[in-house]
């Protein structure tokens, strides 16, 4: 009876050793490769997703580039009538012509400041001032107001900001009226 029990115990030990052997073979020879395969697959999937996203982005940028080129062409068409040289060259000339039609010939047009236009990349806003000496305010004010009112219509690039016709006279016994306006200029 005891010999039979000892034989049964030995059998179990042998089975356990066999199982341990199988596990060891798996752990040593197969498991590392399965792990490596899993790592490569994960890396492949991850990289694949990144490449897909990058290709999508590339296509999107290509489309945006095409659209930007069309937008640029549209802008060029809309600005076709405007001189190509800087506004500092032609705006004062046009203002002079315009005011000349209303009887004002002696005045100074200058750029006071420039500022970026955040909502419109590639453009800057030029702030101008026109100082018009008035010898007789009460007689000339009407014409000046009409000239300023029509300036915006005559020159679509010009936006009037303010006008000041003060009562006081300067050393030359003249009232100096100041008109400020702004224009948008392309910088790119």
């Amino acid at each position: 009876m005891a010999a039979k029990r000892a034989f049964g115990t030995r059998r179990w030990i042998e089975i356990c050793l066999a199982l341990v052997g199988v596990w060891l073979i798996y752990r040593l020879f197969v498991a590392p490769l399965r792990e490596r395969e899993w790592q490569i697959r994960t890396a492949t999937t991850d990289l694949g997703n990144r490449i897909l996203a990058a290709r999508k982005l590339k296509n999107e940028i290509q489309e945006l580039e095409d659209k930007a080129a069309k937008a640029n062409a549209e802008i060029r068409r809309s600005e076709a009538g405007l001189p190509t040289n800087p506004q500092i060259v032609w705006v004062p000339q046009r203002v002079r012509l315009h005011f000349g039609r209303f009887g004002f010939s002696q005045f100074a047009t200058s750029v006071q400041s420039t500022e970026d236009e955040p909502a419109l990349p590639g453009y800057q806003r030029l702030n101008w001032s026109v100082v018009v000496p008035l010898e007789n305010v009460t007689k000339q004010i009407g014409n000046l107001l009409l000239a300023v009112a029509e300036l915006e219509d005559a020159e679509r690039t010009i936006r009037i900001r303010d006008i000041a016709i003060p009562r006081g006279v300067d050393e030359s016994n003249q009232n100096m009226a100041t008109v400020t306006f702004s224009t948008l200029e392309r910088t790119d």
Binding site: L64, G122, L151
Partner: protein
Amino acid sequence: MPPWLILSLSVAAVGVFCLEWRSVLMKRCDVLAAHLEGMERDWVAISRETKDAEAARNKYRALISRPKRLEEIRTAPRWAWILGIVAESCGEAIELQDLHARQMTGVARACELQADGVAFGLGARANADRFRQRIEQELQEGLRGVPVKVGFLRLEDESDPSAALSTEQRIAFEVVATVGMKDPAVFKPSTYH
């Protein structure tokens, strides 16, 4: 067959199976690694092309929106035509002496105009008020739905002594017009007469 032999053969069979499996796995890993290597080369190339993609995307989007934005700016309501109305409303009984007008920022069409002048002739006060009314009427017609207010800040006999010698009635006034402002500060009770 003795049981130890069966066990040994079983373990050996499992060992052979595992070795075979290992060989299959190694081949598969090699193929996958080669594929990954190819993908990495692709990634290097594509990532170089899309390096500043985010900045480029923002730049192009801004460029695309430019015509619309430009059109908005160009067609935005203008206000200087109001000066023409003031000039045309003067008539012979009104003399303007100084004027300030400015566009108000932030609200489309909003502007404020302030003018000092003298009304004369018979019924000079009425002439001054007709001037005010004409401006108000013209602005209301030209700007339907936009708040317009035109009023006097001052309307009084002219204090100029040289003018007082004249028999003609002369009334000095200060008129203010506001456009696009719901509750203009200039007309607050402390200043408005």
